[in-house]
Symmetry: C3
Subunit: 214 residues, 3 copies
Amino acid sequence: MLLTILYIIGITAEAMTGAISAGKRKMDWFGVMFVASVAAIGGGTARDIILGHYPVGWIKHPEYIMITCIAGVFTTLIAPWVVRNQRLFIVLDSIGLVVFSIIGCRVAIDMGLPPLICVIAAIVTGIFGGLLRDLICRQTPLVLHKELYASVALFAAGLYLTLLCYGIEDSIAIIITLAGGFSLRMIALKFSWSLPVFHFEQEQTEQGTPTKGK
Amino acid sequence: MLLTILYIIGITAEAMTGAISAGKRKMDWFGVMFVASVAAIGGGTARDIILGHYPVGWIKHPEYIMITCIAGVFTTLIAPWVVRNQRLFIVLDSIGLVVFSIIGCRVAIDMGLPPLICVIAAIVTGIFGGLLRDLICRQTPLVLHKELYASVALFAAGLYLTLLCYGIEDSIAIIITLAGGFSLRMIALKFSWSLPVFHFEQEQTEQGTPTKGK
Amino acid sequence: MLLTILYIIGITAEAMTGAISAGKRKMDWFGVMFVASVAAIGGGTARDIILGHYPVGWIKHPEYIMITCIAGVFTTLIAPWVVRNQRLFIVLDSIGLVVFSIIGCRVAIDMGLPPLICVIAAIVTGIFGGLLRDLICRQTPLVLHKELYASVALFAAGLYLTLLCYGIEDSIAIIITLAGGFSLRMIALKFSWSLPVFHFEQEQTEQGTPTKGK
C-alpha cells in the first residue's frame, strides 16, 4: 500500500536525522543505531504505550527496526552528502510527518477513541520521535520551538478526521490529507511561518520570593 | 466532588508552572501547551502506564487536556501577574500535590496492590509531572533536590493508607490527608525544611581508574 | 536460584552508581533513592512497558525497591569507599549487565516473541537503567558512547538464544552466557575496546540552508 511505502520512507528519513544528531554527540555505532531507531519509531511506540495499544508496532514488525538500524549506520558513511542534500531530507521528513500523523489517527480511530484523542495520538506519533532524539542528545527539543511542525500533525489529523466524518472513502481521505499536510509544511518552511513564541525572562528565580515582574 | 474540584485546581496550577518553564526556553504556543499538559497530567499518565492501568486518565476525560492547554496559553498573557502572585501558586500547587497523591494512592488501592506500591503510585503521580517538565526544559529536576516535595507525597500517601486501615470513612480520610499534607508542605516552606543533601565531588572522573576518594 | 542472587547483586551495584550520580548533582535523600531505583530497575520497567508485560517486575516484588532505596542511602555514607573500590563495582555492574540481559531475553521468550525482539528486550533491560540515570542527572548517556556496554548485552542475548536453540538446558545456557558475557566485558575494559565512534561536525547548523558539507 501507498501508506506503507511512505511510512518506510518516513522512518528512514527520521533515522538519518537521528544518526546525524548522534554524530554531533560523538556516539559509537550502537548509539547511532539507538538514536536513529528512537527518532524513527519512538513516536509510534510512545503512542502505543499511552493508548495501551499492544503489541507495539515494531514488535509486530521487527523489520522496521532493521531498517532504522541500517539507515543509521549507513548515514555515518554518507554524512557530508546528507548535509549537502538537506532540502531532500526536509521533504522526506515532511512526508514522514504527515504519514505518521495519519497512522496515529488511524490507530486511535480503530480503538474507538473520541476525536480529540485521535488528534493527540496523531501529534504524539508525529513529534515524539524527534522529541526523544533531542532529549537523548541533550538539545532543547526543536519540535517545541521551531516552525509549524506539531501544527502540521494537528492540521493533518483534523483534515483526515473531517474527511472521514463526511463519508469520504479512506484511501481518498489519505491522499487528500497527504497532499494538504505536505503542502502546508512546505509553504510554512518557504515563508518561515511559525507560531507566536512565548519568551519569558524572570529577573529573580528564587522560588517562594515574589518578584516585581517584568 | 471535592476531590474533582481540587484536582482541576491542581492541574491548572501545574499547567501554569509548565507554561512559565516553556517561556523561559522561548517555546512557541504549541510548546507551551505541550509542556503545560505534561506538567499537569504527566504524573498521572506515568502512574497509569507503570501500573498498566488502562485507559490512561485523560483518555477517559479529554476535557482535562483542554483545561491544561487553555491554562498554558492563558498563562502567556498574564505571565508577569503569575510571577507577582507566586505565593498563591505555591499554595495551589501544594493542594495539587496532595490531591495527586491521594488519587494515585486510590488508583493503586483499587487495583489491589500492596501498600508500598500504593505509596510509590502516590509519589509518581505527585512528582512525575514536574520531573518531565524539567527534563524537557533541560533543568535539573527541582523535585529531586529542593524542599520537602516528594516527602509530602510520601507523607500524604502514608497518612491516607493508615486512616483507611483503621476503618475511617473514605471522604473523612481524604479531608484529614488534605489538611495534614497541605500543612506539612506549608510548614516545610515557611521554615525551609529540607532533606539532607548528598553532595559528592569526585576529583577524577575517568571510569575504570580508582581514585583516592575525597 | 543463582539468577535471583546475581540479580540482587546487579541491582544493588546499579543503585550505588545511581546514588553517586545523584550526589554529583547535589540531590537530597529522596533524589538519591529515586535515581538509585531508576538506575537499578528502570531497564526492567522500560522493557515491561514496551512489551506490555504487566505487572511490571517490581510491582510483583516490592522488596526490590526496598533494596535499591537502602543501597542508595547507604552509598551516601560510604561514597569515598565506593570510589576507591571502583574496580569492584565495575565487576558487579558487569555481572548485573549480563544477568539483566538474560532476564530480559527470558521474558521476551516466554511471551513467544521473535528472536530479534528478544535481543532488543535484553538490550533495553541492560542499558535503559543507565540511560535514564544519565538523562535525569543531565549527562550525555554513557552507554551510548563508551566501551562495549550495549554490545555486551547484544552478545549475551545472542549467545543465550543460540544455546537454547541448540537444545542446551536452560540452567547450563545461563551459566555459559554469564561466563561469556562477563569475560567479554572484562576483556573489553582491559583492552579499552570500543565500537567505532561517529563524530560529525556541522559547520552551519541553520536548518533549511544547504551547507557545503565537510
